[in-house]
Symmetry: D3
Subunit: 141 residues, 6 copies
């Protein structure tokens, strides 16, 4: 089969963060980010949807074994973000704003090479911060 299918795995992580630009005065942070700038942090149940594209292999019917994909996401992303502080505890977010946009880009960068070595290609990273706010990143510029 040489038909392209998009396969998505959902994972979840619960994390603390705040939106705070250390180069700015407190007042500007509070004015810009409102309650998201609470100095003592707040947090979210993040939902992460990782989509890969590939051709199903005839022997298995799989583009990718979702157990393997889940293991990679667990290893490279969830184990680093779950029950953590996104601003303080995460190597790949160091010195970055932890907006949903930036976190999604960071997750893409963590996953890209390892996923692309699995016989499929990373297509998108979608991250839901709340039931009302979500972002999606497809790589590239």
């Amino acid at each position: 089969m040489s038909k392209t299918v998009y396969v998505t795995r959902r994972e979840r992580f619960n994390a603390a963060h705040k939106l705070w630009n250390p180069a700015w005065e407190d007042e500007k942070n509070l004015k810009t980010f409102g309650k998201c700038a609470n100095p003592n942090w707040h947090g979210h149940n993040y939902e992460l949807f990782v989509t890969v594209k590939g051709q199903p292999i005839e022997d298995t019917g799989y583009c990718v074994d979702l157990k393997d994909l889940s293991d990679v996401i667990e290893d490279l992303v969830i184990s680093k973000l779950d029950h953590r502080n996104l601003n303080l505890d995460v190597d790949f977010l160091k010195d970055k704003m932890t907006s949903c946009e930036v976190v999604a880009i960071g997750i893409w960068d963590e996953l890209e090479s390892k996923v692309n070595a699995m016989g499929c290609k990373l297509h998108s990273v979608r991250l839901h911060e709340t039931e009302n706010n979500m972002v999606e990143y497809f790589g590239g510029e």
Copy 2:
């Protein structure tokens, strides 16, 4: 950062409507639209997903402040549709069929110029009429 991210805000509105073409006889309306043509109206809890694309600004990590986007959607769309009759009460749906398709296009037209002036670009309007029926419009022809 010059990476393009898609950011989505969900909003909701509860509205009455009916599908009824005033140029047609009653019988044709009832035959074409079935129970959706009930003369005394019916209604829905609509879910609206507005997606914009943009590059996160380094200082904030935001493509767009979702509070600002939400305010624009509230001002231009929700305040006009929520707890209203789509056929009778909404200026931008006047003399139109209030199918989910047409309402989504109308919402796009309301939002486009104002959203595109916010430093990002309107990408799509997705409208869920029920848990089983939904449409998405990306602008253009």
Copy 3:
């Protein structure tokens, strides 16, 4: 088996309504019910959860055949409420306020005798008007 189990069936209906007390002046209606008093109606996707209690029969494992329960709910409730105006089109809500509370009680009264003749007992009617507002009625005073 003489063990009591509670069995729930979810059904849905999409309806228009408004909150309006005809004994009151317009101004009092608008002040009391706010946007729910919009004269031209609004509407909802209602979710209805009907729970019965009973003992599973050994031959089938069923307290009640959910297909039969669904048919009764369809016949007595959904066919009367779906794609209707709750204030104008529904015999059992005539001259009543169509608050979620009153609609739930009306649905209970419609269902009670027929459900109780099916070998189980009506336990509760839960009605969701939106994802944020819901009521439950267990019968009686």
Copy 4:
């Protein structure tokens, strides 16, 4: 009407917290609470369901105006918990463990007298910490 109906309002808040007993050594905290004891906090999108019981008033069909109930919950609970640190920022959780159980009891105690003065009676506080973990408190011992 003197029929008792249970009315539920859903609200949401996003907060940081950790499970940490200051009377214990670090090691015991980490052993007991695992990743929930992360010193730099984690967080959740909490969903709160507040249920009151009452009799619908004939004039309105309401047990309670859900707008009023929502305002009370906002004022007494959400404004104190949303985008906050449950361990550090919340007066009514001071010196308490911020388990879901304890937070739910705290919310009950905040709401009880004010809700019971609204013509209905507080019935339960249900708090969802994740899609898999939730608690419900009905007051009393």
Copy 5:
């Protein structure tokens, strides 16, 4: 604290089954159970909600450690039902009809003594077979 709180853990399992009474002729099975009697089986994503009641311990704020409760449910229930055939593969459902009611009772019986030895008391087992059909069992007759 001697306040009683109800704590719920959600787990999931994906299983095959059919409704078929071996004491009956084929025709009666097909007439009674309709498409649920398909000889080659069908299946569901079951959602299981296990609720315990208990008093939060002051040192932890927990009625029960949900990790421990989850482990017990995994060990006694999920490991036996997930990716299994409920009619053929499950010791505690042997020679029983695999209706949602009977499966819920079977799960209760599996869990009761072990859960009641954890410092809390099993309160209910709620089992969702589809988004429209669910049962709840509280033990006893």
Copy 6:
């Protein structure tokens, strides 16, 4: 109107299946597919989202009558898959692996010509096997 809108209909089916390559030894099947290779089958509540693209007709506001689309999906897909065994009972999956990818492609092939004769064009078939695993197929290679 010559504006292109994407219209989606959700349908559901409950089916049994297993992942098993008959050309392989048992051991290789069990090693490759893990619990999904359970010889006695397992099953899922599948959610199917069929998206078509088209231009709304001015007279109706419809790209396609969703009742008609639903009837076509019911006739060509749901009636063949619901309460069935995907490996044994489905003509269009005969001798195929019943991975989510392959089932989605099969559904596309069933629907394509009939949907494209309805005045719109089949755009994608999205199939959710669980809340965590889903695939989408857009046709073509």
